[in-house]
Subunit: 192 residues, 2 copies
Amino acid sequence: MCRVDGYTVAMRADAARNLETVLSAGARLLATDPSASIAAIAAAAGVDRRTVYRRFASREELLAAVYKARLDAIEQAIDAARLDRAPVAVALHRYAEGIVTVNRTWPVELGRMRADETIRARRDGFIEQVDAFLRRATEEGLLRADLPAGWAGALLRQLLHLATDELPDLDAGQAADVLVETYLRGVGRDRT
Amino acid sequence: MCRVDGYTVAMRADAARNLETVLSAGARLLATDPSASIAAIAAAAGVDRRTVYRRFASREELLAAVYKARLDAIEQAIDAARLDRAPVAVALHRYAEGIVTVNRTWPVELGRMRADETIRARRDGFIEQVDAFLRRATEEGLLRADLPAGWAGALLRQLLHLATDELPDLDAGQAADVLVETYLRGVGRDRT
DNA sequence: GCTAACTGCTACATTCAAGTGACAGTTAGC
DNA sequence: GCTAACTGTCACTTGAATGTAGCAGTTAGC
């Protein structure tokens, strides 16, 4: 019995370590090249290609596991930010810091997930939660109300990627500071 | 003799049309799936796979031609914006509108161009021109001077993609308006 | 209308990744 | 220490994409 990604599974400890290494290496490789081969991922993780196939029945299953790891981390960040309850300014900053951390841990991009239904559904759910939060932030006067539909949400998503890629020297909190300041100046209502 | 992409080439008119269709279909498909096959691109262009191979010796050559088409369009947009001479506010807006148009015409992404040396060199040259422009804009008081290195340039590049993807109902000029306003609020020095 | 240019089609060789099977060797955990 | 779990390696099939060849048919452009 071991713990992987927060779940208890029947697996030997060394096998669980290998599994996590494969997922992490997979996320890293797939982020730069979405068509990375299983052989490349296995090599990056320092295990044999055959070992990957013992844990995942197919390439699709490995991808799904990587995406799931990212989605779980996002879910945790959203919960921790309390987007639906906390004061909007506080929730925004906490959310930004959490997602920057997720982006650095699981850099893989979810953009091309037309395939898997469950994954897309979860992703859409998260986007809806953030959009609801942005609506609340607009009602409470944090954001401007005269923006094109979807602009505030899309901008926030882009800035989160930007902070992840372009501010590698800053820790997640500092990167979130820069990001949130630029964001609120860009689409916020009043200057503080 | 015919004109393709502004160049005069020895080619029958129908062949030139086919060539442009292939390039355009290639850019469209490669934008959504960088590993799109030659067969898929040929099918999308409505020609036989063999026809593509008659014009391009290899997949790499086709990719290079697509990237070159995009780079040529970017070069034209930069020249038209007169980044090194025109008033910064005017140049910024003209550049934004031009790049939004380029992004819509040649949506293919240049990110993963570690391979081809000439293409990367041209891309780096353009980035340097824009960075020089942003330095000038900072000196002349349009942009804030207290931002992390590279932040203003990276933000502008992201916003250009964002405007292309998220404002499909607006024409290039209107999308550039929204983009530039958000940009100047976000990293500009004074509010107008 | 004639010719050279161009295209579509069928077929083929080659390479590469996906996925599977069997077996021998190693190691965690009792 | 013993056993079950786990791993690495060799070997194989399958499928898909790349790139090439020849031939028959069509069409632009003089």
